[in-house]
Amino acid sequence: MKKIPLNRSFALLVVLAAMFAAVRVEAADYQARVQADIQAFRNYFAAQFPDVKFADYADGVYAIDEDSRQQWKEMEEFPPYALSVEDGKALFEKPFANGKTYGSCFANGGAVRQNYPYYDEKKGKVVTLEMAINDCRVANGEKPLACKAGDIAKISAYMAFISRGNPVDVKVQSEGAYKAYMKGKELFYAKHGKLNMSCAGCHMQYAGRRLRAEILSPALGHTTHFPVYRSKWGEIGTLHKRYGGCSNDTGAKSFAPQSEEYCNLEFFETAMSNGLIFNGPASRK
């Protein structure tokens, strides 16, 4: 009778040790797996566009097409998003009803764009910058903002602007983070919608080629420069607004902005851009 508890506790100890060892190995393993994906991603584009420097992918289609690059350079002379950044600064500094400001939620005066998106272990989900902005509002008794355009995009534009130059460095170090990453990866590569298209189909296979009058941007660097003042919108808008539009254009039902699906997609896409520099906000057509 006395032997059983000893054996049991020893067995338990062995199991625990094995689990602990497994967890320790897997943390490094997840990041290594993601890094392998990143390397394959970069190699793919390097082979497709041998003349494009790695850093230039942050400029999207302007890194691969001269005529549109000229127009973008002209917009950069005095970009319309400069007005959005100014508005965003005023919004960021305006106190909530309770007297606090966004500064109480975000360090560095708001220059924290480079910390998003990240996987929040406690919440068990990916947290994006726009989600964090709304979390800050709700924590301070304010209503959350709509997530496609308007004030949230302006605040995001301001925060992106003052965070420019920081490197993209998404960490995937837990099982939960890896699962979210894999869901985002799946959404990126899977075909869906009436037109049965995938993100990869256009933004990897067809990158640099024309889809009617559009030149498809390479997926590498996709999320470094958001939010964007899109000429089509005539205003500044968020990444998830663009995701939604793209889903619609492929005949797929779009997910809601800040939905788990788009947050995971943003997580995956941003991880693929690790090593590039955050350069938002930006002008796009």
Binding site: E77, F78, P79, P80, A82, L83, E86, G234
Partner: protein
């Protein structure tokens, strides 16, 4: 309105970005009703009491209008004053200090 004025060799380069809807008057809203035209009709710039820029605009100019021009006889530290008026009587004026390149 945002203004950048830079002087080099006595030539001042001015860039203006105005936040303005520049509604053409041809757009219909969700109910199908025509949205009335609302656009900047004139922009000018003054330097040392003299007009150095005079433009008439219309609905063919893009939203959030951008304009760039150059004038001579200006130096760093001096002020350029930009003014605009729109077809509804809206107006704005901004002083910009000329900076070095």
């Amino acid at each position: 309105m945002k203004v950048k004025a830079v002087a080099q060799n006595n030539v001042v380069s001015v860039k203006i970005l105005v936040q303005h809807v520049m509604e053409t008057g041809r757009r219909k809203d969700e109910t199908g009703k025509l949205v009335p035209g609302h656009y900047i009709t004139e922009v000018n710039a003054q330097h040392k009491g003299e007009r150095v820029f005079q433009a008439e605009l219309g609905p063919g100019v893009s939203k959030d209008p951008y304009l760039a021009f150059q004038f001579t006889g200006g130096s760093v530290g001096e002020t350029v004053t930009i003014s605009w008026v729109d077809n509804k009587g809206g107006t704005e004026k901004a002083d910009s200090v000329i900076s070095a390149v």
